[in-house]
C-alpha cells in the first residue's frame, strides 16, 4: 500500500481512471546513445485484460516491459498507473503497486528454496515462522496453477530442473499477501515449460483475468497468443505497428503484421552464386537438420529467432574448420563484445593484431613495426574513431570496439569469417560501413557465415538457413529471401 498522507487521493492506485485503464503509457522512448530501443510507444492495459505482445527479436518488447516493471528507466514519455501520473519509477515501486514481472532470465535466487524466494517479494512475511507462512503462500498457488507439480518447496532452486524453476517463478508472481495483485507481465514464460504445464498456465491466465488481474504475455508461440489473449499488440523496430482484437485473428495474419512493415529493399547480394565445391560442408545433427554449405566468396546467413541453435552451430563450424585435415583459416567475430571479444587491458593495436601474430613474426619475434603497420592500416580502413592505435580499447564506443573486432578478423589470413550477430547495439552508420566491407571482401573470395537477429541484414546474404529449435530447418536462396518467408520459417508450424 502506498502510504502518502499528503496526497488527497491516497488510494489512487486502487481505482482506475475515467477510461477504465490500469496502465497507460504515451510516447514512451528509450535510447542508449544513438540506439533507439523504443521509439515512441503508446500502450494501455485494462484491469483483467490479457494482452499479447509479439514481434521479432529486438523489436523492443522486453524493453517496454522492463520500463513498466521499473527495471529500465524510460528516456521520455508519460506513464499513468491507475489514472495517476508516474514520475520516477523503480522495481520496488512497481512491486508496491501490485505489478509483477516474470522475466526471460529467471530471477529466482538459486541458493535459496522456493519458500525463501517467496519471502523476497513479500515483506509482510516476517517474524517467527516466516518460512512456514511463505510455504503456505506459494504452495496453494503452485497447486492451483500446476496441479500435481510435485515440487518440493524446501529444495534449493539450484537443485530444481529448469522447468520446475520456471513454474516456481510463475507461481511466485501470482502470489498475494498484503499488496493487491493488479497485473502480471509474462516474458516468454513457456519456453522452459512442457506441453502440459503450458496448457495449465494458459488456463490460469484466463482464470486470473476473471479475477481482475491483467496479464501481458510475450511469446514467440503465436498459438498461445491466439488461445488466451483479448488483444494483440505487434511491435517492430521499437514501435507498435498494429493492435488487434485477437478474436478473428489468424496466425497468418499475425505473421504478416510483423513482417509487412519492413520496407521492401533493394537486394544487395542478388546473384545466386554458381554452384562450386564448397569450402565448408557441415553436416547437421540428424536428417531434419540441414547440411550447411559455404562456398568461396559467399555470404551465408543464419536466421530465426534468437537462441534457436544458430550460435551453437556457428561455433561448431568455427572449431570444426580448425580441426580439418587441411585446417581452413577461419576467424570469429563475437557479438558479445564484453565477454567474448575484446581483451580489456589492451590497446586497439594489441586487440587488432592478436589473430595475426604468426604472420607478423620475423625470426621468432613479433615485428613491432609490422604489427603497428597492420593495426594502422586496418583501423583506418574500418574508420575506427580513436586518437591513436595505442588507445585502450575500453575507451572506445561499442560500435568502434566492434570495428576493431571486425578488423581483427579481416586483417587475418582467414578464408572464412564467422559473424556472431556482431551488429547488436551498433549505430546505423557503422553498420552501413561494415556491410560495404563485407561485400567487398566477399568479392575478393572470402566467405562469410553470418548469424544475425536483424532481418534486414539478411538481404546481404546469398543464401540463408532459418533455425528453429536447435536445427537448421529451412534454406532460402536469392530472391526467395524475404521477410515473410523468414518469419514463417522462424515461427514454424502451419503453412499460410
Amino acid at each position: 500500500m502506498m502510504n502518502d498522507p499528503t496526497s488527497p487521493k491516497r488510494d489512487a492506485a486502487e481505482t482506475v481512471n475515467a477510461d477504465g485503464l490500469l496502465i497507460e503509457v504515451r510516447d514512451v522512448r528509450k535510447h542508449y546513445d544513438a540506439v533507439h530501443a523504443l521509439g515512441g510507444v503508446d500502450f494501455h492495459l485494462k484491469p483483467g485484460e490479457v494482452v499479447g505482445l509479439v514481434g521479432h527479436n529486438g523489436a523492443g518488447k522486453s524493453t517496454l516491459m522492463n520500463v513498466l516493471a521499473g527495471t529500465i528507466e524510460r528516456s521520455s514519455g508519460s506513464f499513468r498507473l491507475g489514472g495517476r501520473e508516474i514520475g520516477a519509477w523503480s522495481a520496488a515501486s512497481a512491486q508496491q503497486a501490485g505489478l509483477r514481472c516474470i522475466f526471460q532470465e529467471l530471477s529466482l535466487c538459486a541458493n535459496l528454496t522456493s519458500a525463501e524466494n517467496t519471502r523476497i517479494v513479500h515483506r509482510s512475511l516476517r517474524g517467527l515462522g516466516w518460512r512456514r507462512r511463505a510455504r503456505q503462500v506459494i504452495g496453494p498457488v503452485l497447486d492451483e496453477i500446476f496441479p500435481g507439480h510435485g515440487i518440493d518447496l524446501d529444495r534449493k532452486v539450484a537443485d530444481l530442473p529448469i522447468g520446475e524453476r520456471q513454474m516456481v517463478e510463475i507461481a511466485r508472481a501470482f502470489t498475494q499477501t498484503s499488496i493487491k495483485l493488479r497485473a502480471v507481465i509474462l516474458d516468454e514464460p513457456t519456453s522452459a515449460l512442457g506441453h502440459e504445464a503450458t496448457e495449465q498456465l494458459l488456463a490460469h491466465i484466463r482464470r486470473a483475468a476473471g479475477r481482475g488481474i491483467a496479464c501481458i504475455l510475450i511469446t514467440h508461440r503465436l498459438n498461445e497468443i491466439l488461445a488466451v489473449c483479448d488483444r494483440t499488440v505487434v511491435m517492430v523496430d521499437g514501435k507498435v505497428v498494429a493492435e488487434r482484437p485477437t478474436a478473428g485473428l489468424s496466425r497468418a495474419a499475425l505473421v504478416e503484421l510483423m513482417g509487412s512493415i519492413e520496407r521492401p529493399r533493394e537486394r544487395t547480394a542478388g546473384k545466386v552464386a554458381s554452384v562450386q565445391a564448397p569450402v565448408i560442408r557441415h553436416a547437421g545433427r540428424d536428417t531434419t537438420d540441414l547440411t550447411i554449405d559455404v562456398g568461396k566468396g559467399e555470404v551465408i546467413g543464419f536466421a530465426g529467432l534468437d537462441g534457436h541453435g544458430q550460435r551453437e552451430r556457428l561455433r561448431a563450424m568455427f572449431y570444426a574448420s580448425r580441426r580439418q585435415r587441411e585446417a581452413l583459416p577461419g576467424a570469429y567475430v563475437a557479438g558479445d563484445r564484453g565477454s567474448e571479444g575484446v581483451f580489456s587491458l589492451w590497446s586497439i593495436a594489441d586487440n587488432l593484431t592478436i589473430r595475426s601474430l604468426n604472420a607478423l613474426t620475423r625470426g621468432g619475434m613479433i615485428s613491432g613495426a609490422a604489427a603497428r603497420k597492420l593495426a594502422e592500416t586496418w583501423s583506418n580502413r574500418l574508420n575506427v574513431k580513436a586518437p591513436s592505435i595505442d588507445t585502450p580499447i575500453l575507451s572506445l564506443s561499442g560500435g568502434n570496439q566492434q570495428k576493431v573486432l571486425f578488423a581483427r578478423a579481416l586483417s587475418s589470413d582467414a578464408e572464412v569469417i564467422f559473424l556472431d550477430d556482431p551488429m547488436r547495439g551498433v549505430d546505423v552508420g557503422t553498420k552501413q560501413e561494415v556491410y560495404r566491407l563485407i561485400r567487398a571482401e566477399a568479392e575478393n573470395g572470402r566467405a562469410f557465415v553470418w548469424y544475425t537477429t536483424e532481418l534486414e541484414e539478411l538481404t546481404n546474404c546469398e543464401r540463408i538457413y532459418v533455425f528453429r529449435e536447435g536445427r537448421a530447418v529451412t534454406r532460402l536462396e536469392g530472391e526467395a529471401i524475404e521477410t515473410g518467408r523468414i518469419l514463417q520459417a522462424s515461427f514454424g508450424g502451419d503453412h499460410v
Binding site: F318, R322, G330, A331, Y332, A334, S339, E340, G341, V342, F343, S344, L345, W346, S347, D350, I354, R355, L357, N358, T361, G364, M365, I366, G368, D390, T391, P392, L394, R408, S412
Partner: protein, 312 residues
Amino acid sequence: MTRRLSLAPWTYGFIVALAMWVVTSAYSGIDSAGATLSGALAFGAFSVVVGTGQMFVVASGPGNIDLSVPSVLTLAAYVSITVMQGSDGMLLPGLLAALAVGAVAGAANFLAIVALRLPPIIATLAWSFVFQSLAFNLGGQATLKPPAGLSRFTLMNLGGVQFMPIAVMVLTLVAMVVLKRTVWGRQLLATGQSEPAARLAGINVARVRLIAYMLCGTAAALAGFLLAGFSGGAALNMGDAYLMESIAVVVLGGTSVAGGQANAVGIWGAALFFNLMSTMLNTFGIQAGVRFLLTGVLIILIVALVPRPRVR
C-alpha cells in the same frame, strides 16, 4: 600501452627496497652497505627465478597458481645431486635432469587441472605432496652434497660483481621479451584476460596454459639446482620459504592476480624488498616472531597503497 606520469605500481617495490637499504646502512654503518646489497641480490636472485615462473602461471588467468613450487624445487635439487654424485664433470647432465623434472612436474600439474577439472590450487597442492615424498625417498633426511664446481659457480665473482644475480637479470630480460614479442607471450596475456575471447580469436588455450605451468616447474627446478650449490646441498626443507615468496613477489611486482597482465621487472623490486626487509629487521635485532608480523603488515600496506588499474 599508454605511458603514465604517475609511478607504475611495480616501482614501489624498488622504492621501498631502496629506503630499507638506506636505513639499514645508516643503522649499521656505511661500510656494510655494499655487503648488504650484494647479499640481497644473491638471495633475491632465487626468489626472482621462482617468481618469474609463477608469474607466467598467475598471468594465464584468474585462479591459476602453482603451489607445488617448493616441492618441485626440492625434488629437482635431489634428482640433480643424485645424478651428479659430487662430480664436476656431471654438471650439465645434472642441470638437464633438474630441468626435465621441473618440466614434467609442470605438465603433471596442468594435466590434473584439465583432465580432472581440479582447481589449480588443489591440483598443485596435491602434486606437491607427491613431489615432496619422492624427494624424501631419494635422499631421506640427510643433506646431499653438491659438486664443488656448482658451489663455485653460484658464488662466482667477476671483478667484484657476483655473476649469478647478473645471469638472473638476463633471465628477467628474456622473460620480458617473451611476454612482449613472442606469439606465446601475447597469447598468454590474451588468455589471461578472457578465456572465451582467446578461444574465439583462434588461440589454443590449453597449449598456452600447459607451457605456462611447464615453465613454472622448470624455473622452480632451476632455482633448486642453483640453491643446492649455493647453500651447500639439498635439504628437504630448502623450498619452504619459496611457497609464499614466489606468490608475494609476483603480486607485489605488479602482476595482476586477475590474470592477463604480467610484469617481469617488478619481481626484482619485490624480491629485493623482501630480502632487505629481513636484513633490516635482523640488524635491528628484532625477534623472528615480530619480524614475520612486520613482514605481513608491510605487504598488506604496500598492496593497499599501490594504485591499481581499475577493473571494469
